[in-house]
């Protein structure tokens, strides 16, 4: 038995690594490269790196200048989201246990990285979030209602999440947006940007495809002008020019965070509109004629026939645009805004006297936090595509 396994292993190695001279050379070079890379990385992470800089600045990196006695607002939001995730996981049971296991494992590893014993409070509060997840998971099986109602609960739950989080952050005095920061600010900006950008982009795409000349051309002009300049330039624009253009009553009163969200979603909308336009063009004309023949009016056929097919066709492109927006939340730093999002906080941490030159540690940590979200978004879209059967064609 063992020898047969060994034989297969050798055969696999022969076929995949040493099938020709060129392959052998490539394998050896790759092995050397991997060895060099891994030894450098591992010896850095476990021996030469001084993680104290992360440890000390963890608060700064995660929530920025958020007041300490108001932290419950963030924890309340986190618990709501984890409980809801638990509920959704239980509802869409088809999502494999593997993913669940991996996410728990990665959270656990993250916690180890931040040395639990030095941050006992943080450790306990994080463990609580896992408990909330399990509570949400169990709650799903305890309540005895029809699956269709549970479906509605999940959808409504996620729909009200953003308003709820904003409510948590604003009720009973609240925390002004200039005090928001860190990873938390990135998440909030990307989240609102995605939602409003998608809605606005959808409207723009429909407007551009419309036969009403004025609407069509004004949408086209908007899309093309926005796409002409980089996002940094628009953020700069929001910072410098918009105060001049607003009515005098509002000038200097419009929150900078609000301005940033408007720019982020307005910018993303232009790109999303172009993506959805591609989707609209891919919908077969017969579909529209069939909808007409069934007696649907313009609104019905658009929302029930055309858009679902158009959006379904462009889900990968949409998700990569969302990922781009998520990564672009770092541009606040480039536009010189007075916000400390994650990257800005990292830079601030590096300017502390005792941590000068520890850039590898800080940027590695920051990169990991960004990477987790973008990678899981791209995996999510892949799974979603498979579920919809988009890739079966070829």
């Amino acid at each position: 038995m063992i020898s047969a396994n060994l034989f297969h292993t050798f055969k696999w190695i022969k076929i995949n690594l040493f099938s020709s001279k060129l392959n052998t050379i490539l394998t050896l070079i790759s092995l050397l490269f991997i060895f060099y890379f891994l030894t450098t990385l591992l010896s850095f992470v476990f021996f030469s790196a001084e993680w104290k800089v992360i440890d000390t600045n963890l608060r700064l990196l995660l929530i920025g200048p958020f007041p300490e006695n108001e932290e419950w607002r963030i924890w309340a939001s986190v618990y709501w989201i984890t409980a809801l995730s638990g509920f959704s996981f239980a509802h869409y049971g088809s999502i494999s246990r593997k993913i669940l296991l991996y996410s728990f494992l990665s959270i656990f590893l993250l916690m180890l990285l931040i040395e639990p014993m030095s941050n006992v409070n943080l450790f306990i509060l994080s463990i609580l979030s896992i408990i909330f997840f399990i509570v949400g998971y169990l709650f799903h099986s305890i309540i005895k209602i029809k699956s269709i109602y549970k479906n509605k609960m999940v959808l409504i739950g996620w729909a009200i999440t953003l308003p709820l989080v904003v409510l948590f952050l604003k009720i009973f005095g609240g925390v002004e947006t200039t005090k928001w920061g860190g990873y938390f600010l990135n998440i909030m900006l990307a989240w609102t940007g995605i939602i409003f950008g998608f809605i606005f982009g959808l409207l723009l795409a429909i407007g551009r495809a419309s036969s009403l000349v004025v609407i069509k051309y004004s949408c086209t002009v908007y899309i093309e002008v926005i796409r002409a300049a980089p996002l940094v330039a628009w953020l700069f624009f929001a910072y410098l020019v918009i105060p001049d253009l607003l009515p005098d009553i509002f000038a200097n009163k419009v929150d900078i965070a609000l301005r940033v969200v408007i720019v982020l979603s307005g910018f993303t909308a232009a790109y999303i509109a172009e993506i959805i336009r591609g989707g609209l063009q891919s919908v077969h004309f017969g579909q529209i004629e069939a909808a007409k023949a069934l007696g649907m009016n313009a609104y019905q056929s658009t929302s029930l026939i055309i858009l679902p097919q158009a959006i379904r066709a462009v889900i990968p492109a949409l998700v990569s645009q969302f990922i781009a927006l998520w990564k672009d939340t770092t541009l606040l730093l480039a536009a010189g805004l007075a916000f400390r999002e994650l990257l800005g906080s990292g830079k601030a941490a590096l300017s502390q006297l005792e941590f000068i030159g520890k850039y590898s540690e800080v940027y590695l940590f920051v990169a990991l936090l960004f990477w987790i979200v973008s990678f899981s978004m791209s995996r999510f879209s892949l799974n979603f595509e498979k579920k919809l059967g988009l890739n079966k064609g070829d």
């Binding site: 330039a233 658009t302 990564k327």
Partner: protein, 384 residues
């Protein structure tokens, strides 16, 4: 087709919707017009003295007493230089990684996958700042690293030997490059007259390359081409700097590394997708005809894949152009950084923004034009 359908109810309703929309649009534009007319809108401020120094420049001989237009142009040239070098390198790395992802070799394909998945999921700005910090952590210029007196490395940048070409030899080189385009016709005449089929490579290696080498040697001997070795100079006030040679500054290295590696990961995905979308039979048929792996890739697979690759890669080039504005974070004086300085010093934000948008649009237009030309060429080859 679709557009006939949206809002296709009745004409009067359409007109009323449109009228209402137009009404609000006109009010909005009128309001904007009033607001903007309060501000200064002419471009005269660009002719004033700029009054700030720049660390990177190329093609222009800029100094702080020049006008702001010259400063802006310096920025534009800096951006163009960055974009051209960036597109060139990103395409090469992107193609290599994209092909490596489909390699039979398990290790190679997995290394390529890891590269793509790591790089494209991390913000570009973070990568640029990381490379910048890395470049700044190189030894200081007083403790520079010296490779055989040819390459100097320090945290001020990398100094290479510079090739100084006289005017005569410049034209000779141009002539040699033009000669390169005549090789196909030379090949045709030789093969038709002598009845021997020389390959391109043979003519290139045994005809063209020796010619090139001999020319360069002669030009060297008559001192028409010189190599300017880099060196380090110390001034009276103990300021150490690179004196001669071709100096690539730290900022340029950092922004270039960031842009190239980031864009290459996207190009690699495009290349992989395009090759995978071809029918497998193409490659198998090529191998069955006795072509080697390399021949099958370069003669059969890539030419077909190029047709799919070019439009999305054009998009990536445009992204690279716009992303080059991130240079502002690390102080590489590209057009956006310089516009920022001008806006800070002189105000006039709106005219400056118009200028920025037009400049980026012009660059995008040029790139799109070039890529369309390639696209047509590739499509033609496919149709023959």
């Amino acid at each position: 087709m679709i557009k006939d359908f949206f809002f296709r109810t009745n004409k009067r309703k359409n007109n009323s919707i449109q009228g209402l929309y137009l009404f609000f649009l006109v009010i909005f534009l009128f309001y904007l017009f009033i607001k903007i007319s309060d501000l200064d809108l002419d471009f005269k401020f660009l002719t004033n003295e700029s009054g700030f120094a720049l660390s990177n420049q190329w093609l222009t001989n800029y100094n702080p007493t020049d006008t702001r237009i010259v400063a802006y142009l310096t920025g534009v040239f800096n951006t163009v230089r960055l974009v051209v070098v960036g597109i060139f390198l990103a395409s090469i790395i992107g193609f290599i990684v994209g092909i490596a992802r489909l390699s039979n070799n398990w290790l190679v394909s997995n290394i390529a996958t890891a590269y793509v998945e790591i790089i494209r999921n991390v913000p570009l700005l973070l990568q640029i700042i990381f490379w910048w910090s890395f470049a700044l952590s190189l030894p200081r210029i007083s403790e520079y690293i010296n490779f055989a007196n040819l390459v100097f490395i320090s945290n001020r940048g990398i100094a290479f030997p510079k090739i100084i070409i006289s005017q005569l030899s410049f034209f000779i080189f141009i002539a040699l490059i033009i000669l390169l385009f005549f090789i196909p016709s030379v090949k045709n005449t030789i093969s038709s007259k002598m009845n021997v089929d020389f390959s391109y490579l043979r003519i290139l290696f045994f005809g063209y390359v020796p010619l090139l080498l001999v020319t360069i040697c002669i030009l060297f001997l008559v001192n028409a081409v010189n190599i300017d070795q880099p060196s380090i100079s110390v001034s009276d006030t103990n300021v150490i700097r690179y004196a001669n040679g071709f100096v690539v500054t730290t900022e340029f290295i950092a922004i270039l590394l960031g842009l190239v590696l980031y864009t290459a990961s996207f190009i690699a995905e495009i290349v992989r997708g395009a090759i995978q979308s071809l029918p497998k039979g193409q490659n198998e048929a090529a191998l069955a005809l006795g072509l080697t792996d390399y021949q099958a890739l370069s003669l059969i697979v890539l030419p077909q894949a190029l047709r799919i690759i070019i439009p999305p890669v054009t998009n990536q080039y445009l992204n690279l152009t716009k992303n080059s504005s991130l240079a502002v974070v690390i102080g590489y004086s590209d057009l956006f950084l310089i516009s920022g300085i001008i806006m800070n010093k002189a105000g006039h934000a709106i005219p400056m923004f118009v200028l920025i948008i037009l400049t980026y649009q012009l660059m995008s237009f040029v790139i799109a034009l070039i890529m369309n030309y390639f696209n047509k060429k590739v499509a033609l080859v496919g149709n023959q």
